[in-house]
């Protein structure tokens, strides 16, 4: 079991499956509110839903309205379970707090892979099970 540490943005506990993107995620205009599916053409996660996943990505991009998108996803039960980022910025930080989504940044995200199972507590991430290819 490998343990990673970072900086807690919204504190809490979460346990779930990783969905990783090496590209920044733009929430405004690029995520479907009713399904949580990323619909940005050409994005590595295009067509995949972030709902209920521990999303792992470098940083967010685009309009600050993205904070409200996270809020709307949460209300519809389609928000990510938690987020792990390299560098959190205003969009996700504000979105996480208003939506109460657990998250950590300043993490070496290359250590995490889509399909891994992780549990988050405070500023610690425990990789419980790595995805077997």
């Amino acid at each position: 079991m490998e343990i990673l540490t970072g900086r807690s943005i919204y504190e809490g506990q979460a346990k779930g499956e990783v969905l990783r993107s090496d590209m920044p995620i733009g929430f405004f205009g690029h995520v479907d509110l009713e399904t949580g599916i990323i619909k940005e053409p050409g994005h590595p996660l295009e067509g995949q839903s972030i709902a209920g996943k521990v999303i792992v990505f470098p940083t967010a991009k685009g309009s600050t309205v993205g904070s409200y998108i996270l809020y709307a996803l949460k209300k519809r039960g389609k928000a990510p379970l938690a987020f792990i980022m390299k560098d959190c910025e205003l969009i996700v930080a504000v979105g996480a707090i208003i939506s109460e989504i657990v998250g950590i940044d300043q993490v070496d995200i290359t250590k995490l892979h889509t399909g891994d199972w992780v549990s988050i507590e405070g500023n610690r991430i425990v990789i419980e099970q790595t995805h077997i290819y």
């Binding site: 943005i9 919204y10 509110l33 309205v65 409200y68 930080a93 504000v94």
Partner: protein, 408 residues
């Protein structure tokens, strides 16, 4: 982050859940940007008002925050909405949009935020003092307050400005600190500028070169045309904030921090740039074509002086296409009292308040070819409205409206 006893109490919920949530947002931002403590702010300007921008998710969030009993603790005022509250039908906006928009304004009013609905609060009496800490969010207003007035604000997002308004504080980082107000670029202008459009073109060019940096500009000739200095600076700053992310600039002998400190504002490792001509900027901003649906002036919102200048030029003329000037309703009232609104209306134009061509649903209203006198609007309209956007001087825009086509 160091919090006072009062701030800690708010964070623990003693001021209610609404204020607690606001403090949680500010503490998280303070942590991300490594702020040492909070700084009290004297006013907040709240962006994220237009329904076209924030949509249903934004409406839901604001409604819920109102439910939590949040109220602002300091003077707070709204950025433009998507409609003129009175003239929305004449703008071609449909009723469902107007209804949602009015709901947003009403939610914000319930938190005691003033429905100024303008990006130029400094034209209607909200003029921060030199050195005052504020939390403003619209990019041109931020630029004006920091640069022209010498106030101190970061570029807040909608929710963070709202959070700052609710607790009367913001984390102390970025432009709130002296060391972050130094210039990264030294721009020497070697060409003569005359109209506000020229200043817009210069701003557009500088914004592209410096990105999120802080330019120190020298070589600008005296701004002594028919308008006030603020009108030229407003166009310059708005364009730099749109083509780049400039939230503060200094102009030698003009802006207050440059007047006080001159070249001491230059960082040791600053980059030097000379501007010999503006042809490249003009070429990028100008678009060819002649089809025209709308001429829209007033980005940022026009001042009384700017409306006067237009009214006197168009007196006795007739427009062949839609012609709008956007401003705040206070300025519109003053212009109406002077008879200038009537002069523009007699020519077939409209003076629209509370909104602008960037945040109104123009595409939905069927405007696809729009002429503007603002370099900022020229940056945003192609992507925000999907419109073919022509850019020129105020005089060229007026002439185009009279002739019904763009030919410059």
């Amino acid at each position: 982050m160091k919090l006072t006893d009062e701030e800690q109490a708010i964070l623990l919920g003693e001021g209610g859940r609404g204020a607690q949530k606001a403090m949680e947002i500010l503490v998280a931002l303070g942590k991300i940007y490594r702020a040492f403590d909070m700084v009290p702010v004297q006013s907040a300007q709240i962006a994220g008002v237009s329904y076209r921008n924030i949509g249903d998710p934004g409406v839901e969030f604001l409604a819920d925050w109102v439910q939590l009993g949040a109220k602002v603790a300091i003077p707070a005022f709204m950025n433009p909405a998507g409609i003129d509250r009175k003239l929305w039908k004449q703008m071609g906006v449909d009723a469902p949009f107007a209804k949602k928009q009015m709901k947003i304004i009403s939610h914000l009013e319930k938190m005691n935020i003033e429905p100024t609905l303008t990006c130029t609060p400094y034209h209607i009496g909200h003029v921060p003092q030199f050195g005052e800490h504020i939390a403003w969010s619209e990019s041109s207003a931020v630029s004006f307050a920091n640069s022209v007035l010498g106030a101190r604000t970061n570029r807040e997002g909608g929710p963070s400005a709202l959070a700052a308004a609710i607790v009367g504080r913001t984390p102390r980082f970025g432009l709130h600190l002296d060391e972050n107000r130094l210039a990264s670029h030294h721009i020497t202008v070697k060409t003569r500028l005359s109209s506000p459009a020229d200043y817009g073109a210069l701003g557009y060019w500088i914004g592209k070169q410096v990105g999120g940096g802080i330019p120190y500009i020298e070589g600008l000739a005296e701004m002594n045309g028919s308008l006030e200095v603020t009108e030229y600076l407003k166009a310059l700053g708005a364009a730099m904030a749109a083509s780049g992310a400039v939230a503060l600039y200094h102009i030698q002998d003009v802006t207050p921090e440059a007047v006080n400190s001159g070249h001491q504002l230059l960082k040791k490792d600053h980059i030097k740039i000379r501007v010999e001509q503006l042809n490249d900027a003009y070429q990028e901003l100008k678009k060819s074509g002649d089809k025209l649906d709308l001429v829209a002036l007033g980005c940022p919102h026009h001042s009384l002086e700017e409306i006067r200048a237009v009214a006197q030029t168009v007196a006795g003329r007739k427009f062949k296409v839609e012609f709008w000037i956007t401003t705040s309703y206070q300025i519109r009232q003053s212009a109406a009292a002077e008879g200038w609104v009537q002069l523009i209306e007699s020519a077939g134009g409209k003076v629209i308040s509370d909104t602008c061509m960037v945040v109104a649903p123009l595409k939905e209203a069927g405007f696809n070819h729009i002429a503007v006198n603002s370099a900022k609007a020229a940056c945003y309209l192609p992507s925000h409205q999907g419109a073919v956007t022509y850019w020129g001087t105020t005089e060229q825009c007026i002439q185009a409206a009279i002739e019904g086509k763009w030919k410059f």
